[in-house]
Symmetry: D2
Subunit: 141 residues, 4 copies
C-alpha cells in the first residue's frame, strides 16, 4: 500500500486528535478523516511549493469529485495521527491523491484512501489546468 517513499514524494503531517473529532462510540468519527485527508493535501501543496491559495489566485478551483476510504483501526482522542499524502495520478484536467493515516507511535493504520479532483472555473465548469500550473505540478509529482 505504501509507495516507495521518494517517487512520488510522500508528504507527512502529524497532529493530535481533537476531542470534537470523536463521537459517542468513543472513537474518531469517520467524517473527521475526510477533513484530515484534505489537510494532507494542504500540507502537500505547501511542501511542493504549490499552495492551494496560490492556485485559487489563478482563478480556478480544485473540485473534489470522488472519495474512497477504507477504515481499519479506529483513532482515539489523546493520540497523534500522521497523514501521509502523495499524488497518485495527474493529468491536464485533474489529479488523484492517495493517503495513508497512521498512528505514528505504534504504526497502526487507521485509513487508506484516495480522492479525485478536477480543475474548475469559479463558476464550476471543468477546465484545463493553467499551463504554468501544469508545469509546477509536473515538477511536484
Amino acid at each position: 500500500m505504501k509507495p516507495d517513499t521518494s517517487t512520488p514524494e510522500v508528504v507527512e503531517t502529524t497532529f493530535y486528535v481533537r476531542f470534537a473529532e470523536t463521537d459517542a462510540m468513543g472513537v474518531v468519527h469517520h467524517a473527521a478523516y475526510i477533513v484530515w485527508m484534505e489537510e494532507g493535501r494542504s500540507v502537500w501543496g505547501r511542501a511542493q511549493g504549490t499552495p492551494y491559495n496560490d492556485f485559487i489566485a489563478t482563478g480556478f478551483y480544485l473540485a473534489l469529485v470522488e472519495v474512497k476510504a477504507r477504515y481499519t483501526v479506529p483513532a482515539r482522542y489523546g493520540q497523534r495521527v500522521t497523514v501521509r499524502t502523495w499524488l497518485e495520478k495527474f493529468g491536464s484536467r485533474g489529479m488523484t491523491f492517495a493517503y495513508e493515516i497512521i498512528n505514528p507511535d505504534d504504526g497502526a493504520v487507521h485509513l487508506t484512501g484516495t480522492t479525485r479532483h478536477i480543475c474548475v472555473t469559479r463558476e464550476g465548469r471543468p477546465a484545463r489546468f493553467p499551463e504554468a500550473w501544469l508545469a509546477r505540478l509536473e515538477a511536484a509529482k
Copy 2:
C-alpha cells in the same frame, strides 16, 4: 428567559440530533449547538421573508461578533431538539439574536444563548444596513 411568544416573534425549528454531532462523552458536542443556533437564524430569516441569501445578494454579509451560550441538560443522539430563535435587539448597523434549544418531547432546556452580528461589506468593513433591508427587518421584528 422565554419571551412572550408573539412579541418579538419566536421562530422554531425541530430536527433530530445527528450522530456526527456527538462526542466521546456520549452526548452532543458543545460546538454543534453553535451550528444549531446558526440554523435557527436561517429558519428565522426564511420565516420572516428575509432569507440570508437575499441579504447576501445586496452585497453585504452579517458578521458574527459575539457568542454567549449557557449549556444545561446535554442533548443526545436519538432525540429531537427544537431551536427557538428571536430577534432580541436591532439597530442600523447590527442585531442580536436570542435562542433557546429544548427537547420538544420532555421540555428539557439544553441551551440558552445569544449571538451578536454586524453588517459588513464583502471586504469585511462595518456598514449600515441597506435602507430597504432596514425596513424589512423593522417589519420582521
Copy 3:
C-alpha cells in the same frame, strides 16, 4: 442508479443546507455529505423500526469500514437536499448502504455513494449480528 423504489425500500429525508456546511469555494464542503449519508442511515433505521440506538442497546456497534462517494453538482446554502438511503447488501456480519443525494426542487444529483459497515463489540472486535437483530434487518431489507 436509482433502485426500484420499493425493493429494497428507499427511505428519504429532506432538509435545508446549513451555512456551516459551506466552505470558501461557496458551496457545500465535501465532508458535509458524509454526515448527510450518516443521517440518511439514521432516518432509514427509524423508518424500518430498527433505530441505531436500539442496536447500541444490544451491546454492539456498527463500525463504518468503507466510504465511496462520487460528487457531481455541488449543493449550496439556501437550498434543500434530499438524502435517499437504501440497504444494498446485508449479511450476518455486516451491511452496505447506498445513497443518492439530490436537490428535491430541480432533481439535480449532488452525490451517489455507498458505505460498508460491520458489526463490532463495544471493544471493537468484529462480531455476528445478534439473532433477533438479524431477523429485524431481514424484515427491513
Copy 4:
C-alpha cells in the same frame, strides 16, 4: 486582555487553518474557533501534566457549561493561528479557561473568549474534583 505571560501560565499551540473550517463568506466559520478553544484546553492539559484522558480515567468528565467569545479579525485559509490558553479561575467543583486566538505572523487578534466547566460523574451529575486531581490542578495553575 493578555495576562502576564507567566502567572497564570499561558500555553500556546499554533496550526494552519483547515479548508474545511472556512465557510461561504470566505473566512473561518465561527464554530471552528469553538473547536480551537477546546484544542487549546487539550494542549494546556498536556503541557501541565494533566491530560484530559487521565482525568477521564478517574471516572469523571469536565462538562462545558458556558462559552463566551468575541470575534474580531476573521481568520482565513492559508494562514496559521495561535491559540493561547490559560486557567482563569479554579475551584473545587469547576474551572474557567480564557483564550486568545491570534495570527502569529501579523499579531492580529481573531478571538478572545472564556469557557466555564464543571466536574461531573459519568452519569452527568455535578461533583467535586477528586482530591489528587485538585492538587494537580492547584500545581498547574
